[in-house]
Symmetry: D2
Subunit: 358 residues, 4 copies
């Protein structure tokens, strides 16, 4: 492990055994200014990290401990919560009370309104949350739209893979009012690691390889989250179509986003210029030249989002292709990007931005 | 090889070395009434089939020959042309002149109007075609919409994978006028075998695995073919959005088709009923119950199309999921289905309709 | 479903929801002389098959029932047991008592000596078996070595994928004493479907794709089974090295088998002749010409084993490549092949022998 | 691109468009002390790198140029040759004459004896080489066995993926005389990127996915190279068996190496201790605890080799599992490791040693 500067921030990772936790540890290994000093997990408590993840043994020599708020507070400044939906909300109030700043990878703090969360997650997660005030305080952790608020936040609800790819594709169009607010379609394709490190029959290689599988058609729970943020960007209420598909690959997510141009005279070149301007100061977004479309492999294992804009002048449709790595820019890398902002560091510090192709 | 009935029809396959040819031979192996009696190919002429395809040696003990029309006419009744675009048109007139019936797997005879073909394929294929009359005569080989015409046709232009999946998804909606004719979006996902058996860097496993790659955005050459047939189904001109993507799998194609319902009160159950009625006599189409979405694995290596219809009452969108095997129902199986019709046989005779899952 | 002959044998499948059950149902769909008349399962009892397997709905319209011996005996002649190790032995005695003939896909009846089974499976399976007499009676269900005994057996213990590929590779060498009996190495590579349809983290696509994983090195439980049968073939006790590896693919198994030639003057052509003779009457085995090596794709979704023999005259080693589909020739197809023999039918009746390439 | 130190070494990459070139550029992006200052290629000369590799645009803003020795000498200190076999030998003498130090990724300088090279590559590569003196001078670029010689070499012939994984597995056994020198078997499994970025039908995803394919059985051209180096390690002539297999994955290589212990009383723990000692000062080799076997995913996109040693006391065999990334430790990373040595830097400087799992 590289020598550590004395003024590093100390990071606790709660839920170290899932993909979110693994990626966070991997990304912070060698980070110049953020150091993992506490690993917490329920099932793996008491075990050395090197036993849990022999493939990442060198990333840490810590023991996994129970997620005790006092112990975390004594040894960390920031906490990354990588737990199932509904679980982060059980620990977060105690962590904030002890002066910690919290980044949550679940959906628990992505909605300003607790009732909005409850409407979507209530039926699938047992909970008796009453932390509505924290929901209102929490900042949406998409650095490309909310960098200033993230920088000073106590609590950040980091968006996952589908909202990240979708919102980066939509933001310039919505903020500038370039498309109709109805009729937006997001057709998204994800590798199966998005389903997490839980044993599920439908995510077995034998089931998921050599197959593309639509799911959650018309009712996927990320629809509401995307609509909420898209509405903020547009300044008006938006309802849209979101259709996710599982692809036979480990990592990578592509959102193909369709909208109807208000001005059908706009060309792909025009819009590419608009996107370049919108993301000029976003080091983790690359806008490709018109006519070049991103493969998810171009962003594999990076914190980069690659966008490409096409226009069909016959139909008046704009099509935005948005590619990310679902576990980095769509999960743990996003959290590191937010932590960098919270620590006053360059937002891409320590983050991989170039793939190892192929 | 099984014993052959005396009244079998004899089939010539021209272009036996590509995936279309390989699949046709495989499907006709053991077919009760169609027998491959002639194999033609340029590069492989003179070689025994068993040397070209040791994995399918048992499918035929023929030698590959040059595609000589007289020799073909003396030994076959039907000809399946599995050649690159622009090539079938060079051979077909001579074959028809000799009384053969021809099924073409390329795009050469999918357009009633030679100029329509030329507008799309002219820039990419060297040709000096003047067989406009044959284009007008040719029947579009989609049995679910054109069975009667196929049965008596001399010349059938079989649709490929993208138009097949897309048109089966759209047909009931368009024929019954259930959706607006503008704003239709087809987001299609295909395995890489759709790119054929030519060595191309972008289709190498090293490049295409662990990646999803959009291509042909706003300008894929199948757009015009789909629009032509969709317009016929709707009885009015349709322009639509077609976006293909390459997925990291060998076979399988999913079209996710979006349309705006004219009557937003229609439910998924209503439309499932409509689809079941439309495909009641189509043995190669299965309409899934509302809420069950097809994996392409469910139709892998079969001639089955599986459809599922969803409705989002919030947005007024209908979403049709349409899954096929791109090399069977999307190519060679479709040709066999057409040949069955041409021979007066049940259209699914000899065709696999059940997958070997997983 | 095709019309059924009146003199068909009736087959019960116990454990219809796993891959062994699914494949058996698929293979018997359309079999000319064997018909599935009873489906049994614990967790799925009471559900219609079409709900459990919408992708194979057409394969059966039966309800899944509890595995009651009397009910099975009243409705079936043959029983295929597709249950976890240790489970078949609980049901089999009662089934045999009622006059049924049983084929077991687990390891329960692959060992003549119950203690040999117990030595391997005792530590990992709870059991209180005392059916040693049945173990002695049971026939090893590898048709290429034991066809006559299978034909008249009441109880057949069908070998799984690793022993099948390994033993077919070794049999001619051992029976003719062509290799030393020490120093045999079997390096085996399998798709992940061999791990069954149970949710396991290490078999998730996210974990197993883009990886090759050795496991069970020096201690895999199939070692003893392979050694037992190899010893029978050789007429003397054999100990060998067996190293399995998981590959990132759904189906397919390749065993690369190494032995030291007793006569180093033998060539690959000599041995290919020996193998062709050994398997002349084996319709499910193909011996490839010297210098042609099988891809597992050449046997995918077939009941065929493809063998190729190479010799390195420098080292005196013979290398046999043996490719099968682990779920067909390595599991359910093998059982159907045995049932054909038990029913006095051609052993390859109703079995797919040609792949759909690619 | 990070700020560059003034005392950096300048690196030219010849053959920038293949996987070797792509990886070298990627690895040197951000390397603290090595900077790519010249890109050469024949087909791509004149194009900006960002056009050739939009996915790695940020790795360089250079134009690709023709491989002119004078121009290279004026702008670089070290040259990485990533060309087909037989091509490096055409350029290398002129480069050395101009004072450059050369690392060759092809086989041209891996043999001390030009005739040994010619015996293997002569039949497949047109050449009229007469640089036997350079062959004698060249150092074998495996840092774990030849670090000192590499440090001072003018010309390094870097081993590729199969020899690297195989030799790291064998070195401690051979150097200490722990195994018999006959009967060694290397059963190797590689992702298809090892076949390079040339369009070949057998490496198409459609052909290579869902398949394991043995090739080069008894005659692969890496056999001689492995034997040459293994003989040096053992101090006596070794002939061994090498069997490569193509697996359906992009990257990763596993060699499963079998040898007969001279002292059958040695245990896996004993040998693990021996391996740990042998590689104590090798930062790019990890010896796993006995009983833990490496997945190639554990070293994916790293310059790490992971080794595990097993012993079967019944058979007296030792089995060594050796996993690397074929394009990093098996190709470009190895070259960077050598360049670090040549520059007097820590050998793992700038090299990734931890994977992004999964």
């Amino acid at each position: 492990m590289p020598a550590q500067a004395t003024n590093q921030l100390r990071v606790a990772v709660v839920g170290a055994n899932g993909y979110g936790g693994l990626q966070t540890l991997r990304l912070l290994h060698g980070h110049p200014a953020l150091q993992v000093t506490f690993l917490a997990g329920d099932r793996s408590a008491g075990k050395p990290w090197s036993r849990i993840a022999p493939f990442l043994a060198a990333a840490s020599d810590l023991l996994v401990e129970r997620p005790d708020p006092d112990r975390i507070a004594s040894r960390a400044d920031l906490v990354v919560m990588s737990l199932p939906n509904g679980m982060a909300a059980r620990f977060t109030p105690a962590l904030l009370d002890r002066g910690l700043r919290v980044l949550d990878l679940s959906a628990d703090y992505r909605f300003t309104d607790l009732d909005a969360w409850r409407a979507i997650y209530g039926p699938i997660v047992h909970n008796d949350r009453n932390d509505g005030a924290l929901c209102r305080e929490a900042v949406y952790g998409l650095p490309e739209c909310c960098a200033d608020a993230i920088a000073t936040a106590r609590l950040v609800g980091c968006p996952g893979c589908y909202p990240t790819a979708s919102l980066l594709a939509l933001m310039p169009l919505l903020q500038k009012g370039l498309i109709e607010t109805d009729g937006i379609i997001i057709d998204a394709k994800s590798g199966t690691s998005g389903g997490g490190r839980e044993a599920k029959v439908n995510l077995l290689l034998a089931e998921a390889d050599e197959a593309v599988m639509p799911y959650g058609v018309t009712g996927h729970r990320h629809t509401g989250e995307i609509e909420l943020q898209a509405s903020r960007m547009a300044g008006q209420t938006i309802q849209l179509q979101f259709t996710p598909h599982l692809l036979p690959m480990v990592r990578g997510l592509l959102a193909t986003v369709y909208g109807r141009l208000r001005d059908p005279g706009l060309t792909a070149e025009d819009l590419t210029t608009v996107y370049e301007a919108a993301y000029r100061s976003a080091p983790c977004v690359t806008v490709l030249p018109s006519g070049t479309y991103p493969s998810t492999k171009w962003v594999r294992q990076t914190n980069k989002a690659m966008l490409s804009v096409a226009v069909d002048s016959r139909t008046g449709q704009v099509i935005v292709l948005s590619a990310i790595d679902n576990l980095i820019k769509g999960q743990a890398g996003q959290a590191v990007q937010c932590m960098n902002l919270m620590a006053g560091l360059p937002q891409d510090m320590g983050l991989p931005l170039l793939p190892f192709y192929p």
